[in-house]
Symmetry: C2
């Protein structure tokens, strides 16, 4: 940290005539970034103060057809990070390795790095940002969270004076698309997933999205910035959306809620946060409830700013390219004035609270024997665990069965879990069909 | 512009131990900023890398009771901008003078400046930003637009690679509060204004807000950044909300629209924009339509990022303080690495198109003689001016009068105006009660 105290007066260098850029990875994001540099060349040059020149593009498969000059491409990624003429590396490969080693070596070779790699930053951000800072280099990663929506830098800069009291994000477009289809078309999870796959919004193996890993990386990055210490990934409680059904969507809707996969972070103590990703009922009156389809959004509450929301396209070639090029413009401006490396790194060591300590409302759907005494039994079990009820809907199914849906007032997570266990052991309760956490209106 | 090409290697200075700050103006925003520095001292110190020290506060009226040490205050504002120990001046006075002269002299004395002054930046931003840049200093003004919502810096940085295709803002909390009350409570303009004044949301002289000046300054600042040239204030078409009635609110609602005071900017040509502020019907499905009360929002569409929206509290002591302190944190980080003055100034000379050239839909309410032929007459007049109708509502008033509301398809503004003139001359049309522009769904 002390290095921040001494101005790093760089030795007088020759005037910069262009930023020389090497790109690692030329998939969706890489091609988008290249195209943006071409399409908006004049405006980008004006905004940086000098032109950007893509010197070399590192790829894995040289046999893929490409529309650009073949001389631009190489499969020798090392040749890019070792090229002394390259000022900035755009790491657009993804995943922790080899991307992590390449980023680290690029920094050690004196190159600024712009990356869209959420997994890498979520797991190794603190170390890499410290490394960049110690070398007087920029390491930017706006594209790692929320596609083109400015989130990372506003948290680092314009909102940095706030104590963050809560942060709620829809950070994965695939799951938001699936949940929107389930809500608006009445589709079940499997059908909505298949449609998302057919449209190219979901991958053949959808685990990273639908099981909440992607959202967990992203909310961890945002929380690490906001709280100034890296959120350990194993401290993020994570549940995906496979358990959400069209039936639950309909009940939630009737009760005044949307069901969203949310990443939520709250401080619970000095140096301790509760970070979680799970399907959540959120009141329709909350601004994030109306974020539809592949859109992403971040809602946050700071002690001075109050509540702020950002929304937009959270993924895709063009929006992600927008964030990458925005970062590149920043790198270029900093190079021009000798002001690189101004970001304050975040340390490690942030503690995370167990979800057991969460106080939240719950939605619960049960299949029961449709007999007069069942409600009394259930109410007794809830009461014994200090869980009080806020709303209930009941309907008779065929053959003497009933379905009951409860909303609880906020209660301790562990109390609710204990009540669930007792309900599971209760003869009149035939099935605990589903349960989800409920956010209160803000 | 060439100065951007040469790194400004600052001479080796003594390590920075604190940022020394002078505050000009200690009203709502100044007290908020001071309180934020006190309340969040530890986190702010960590995020900058060293502490902030408020050295001196310049005020006009020394007789006002203040809770702080009297030695902090001075009525001699010059003593602050001439104090060689002060690094950063927060200009929180507002208005063009004396604020403008103070900002300019503070810069010439080598001080970074953070300002919340929308009028000053809207009118003199290009000159002041050029001056700051030429001196290697930061001039930040996030708080001038949208209170605590990050708008200025995201446009300058994360979204800078985009060609902006459209920008639509609700940028004045007072008018949005009044319009929300009119819509939700059925209040008329005068009653809603009186209530806003009673609640402290509107000033005794509400002209600056309700006649659209405030919105015009703000949208001009955002457009100047986005298009890289200062929007001349006399090129911004401006209408306020005094003409909006509760009746129009109800018709708009029934037709599927909200009525909002919007600042809207679109490019129309190389180096030419159409910038306008007026009450507008906007489809309820547009995300900006649901921004209620004193909240502000900016919706924009960029060629790569697609559509992005930012919303939050656009005014008030604490949200505005959040933006001022965010800027101050940036100034501090740049000081630490010797990277001040990285912003690329915008020039003057942006051309603005006349509203006559706008192509937009219109809402029109007429009082007519309730006779069989009136509709035919009106339709003939519209047709003669190439204005085609999208929707109509008609109702009979008392005594043989009728009221008709039309929505037109997008047409040339000047054609619609010409049709209005002919309608005014038509004997069966007793009154042109109101007309507003209509935004299409995005």
């Amino acid at each position: 940290m002390t290095s921040a105290l001494a101005p790093q007066s760089s030795p007088a260098k020759a005037p910069i005539r262009a930023i020389r850029v090497g790109i690692l990875g030329f998939g969706t994001v890489g091609t988008g970034a290249y195209r943006m540099l071409e399409d908006n060349r004049e405006a980008i040059t004006r905004k940086i103060g000098f032109p950007v020149q893509v010197v070399r593009i590192g790829i894995r498969d040289p046999s893929k057809p490409r529309s650009l000059d073949a001389a631009l491409f190489t499969t020798d990624l090392d040749s890019i990070i070792n090229d002394p003429s390259i000022d900035v590396v755009l790491e657009l490969i993804g995943g922790t390795e080899p991307a992590g080693a390449l980023v680290e070596r690029a920094l050690r070779n004196g190159k600024h790095v712009v990356t869209a790699n959420k997994e890498l930053i979520a797991k190794h951000g603190s170390r890499l940002v410290h490394l960049a800072k110690s070398l007087g280099l920029d390491l930017h990663y706006e594209a790692a969270v929320g596609g083109g929506i400015p989130l990372v830098q506003p948290l680092k800069h314009q909102l940095a004076g706030n104590d963050l009291l809560k942060m709620v994000g829809i950070l994965n477009g695939t799951t938001n698309y699936i949940l929107t289809q389930m809500r608006e078309e009445g589709a079940d999870f499997e059908a909505a997933l298949a449609e998302a796959q057919a449209k190219g919004y979901a991958e053949a193996d959808p685990t990273n999205d639908v099981d909440g890993f992607d959202t967990a990386y992203k909310i961890a990055i945002l929380a690490s910035i906001a709280f100034g210490k890296q959120v350990p990934m194993d401290g993020v409680h994570r549940e995906g959306i496979r358990s959400v059904t069209a039936i639950d969507m309909r009940y939630a809707d009737a009760l005044g809620y949307a069901v969203k996969l949310l990443g939520i972070v709250q401080p619970v103590d000095e140096d301790k946060v509760l970070a979680r990703v799970h399907p959540t009922l959120i009141p329709k009156s909350h601004p994030i409830a109306s974020v539809r389809g592949v859109y992403n959004a971040l809602w946050l509450h700071g002690d001075f700013v109050g509540d702020v929301m950002f929304s937009g396209r959270g993924a895709g070639s063009d929006p992600t390219a927008s964030a990458v090029i925005g970062d590149l413009i920043d790198v270029g401006r900093n190079m021009a004035v000798g002001g690189s490396g101004s970001a304050i790194p975040y340390d490690t060591g942030l503690k995370t609270a167990s979800i057991d300590n969460l106080e939240t409302g719950f939605y619960l759907r049960l299949r029961v024997q449709d007999r007069p005494k069942v409600l009394g039994h259930i109410a007794t079990i809830f009461g014994a665990h200090s869980v009080s009820l806020a709303a209930m809907e009941m309907k008779t199914l065929s053959q003497g069965k009933g379905e009951i849906v409860f909303l609880t007032h906020p209660c301790q997570e562990k109390n609710f879990r204990a009540a669930l266990e007792d309900l599971g052991a209760e003869r009149m309760v035939e099935e605990i069909s589903s349960s989800f956490r409920v956010e209160q209106a803000e």
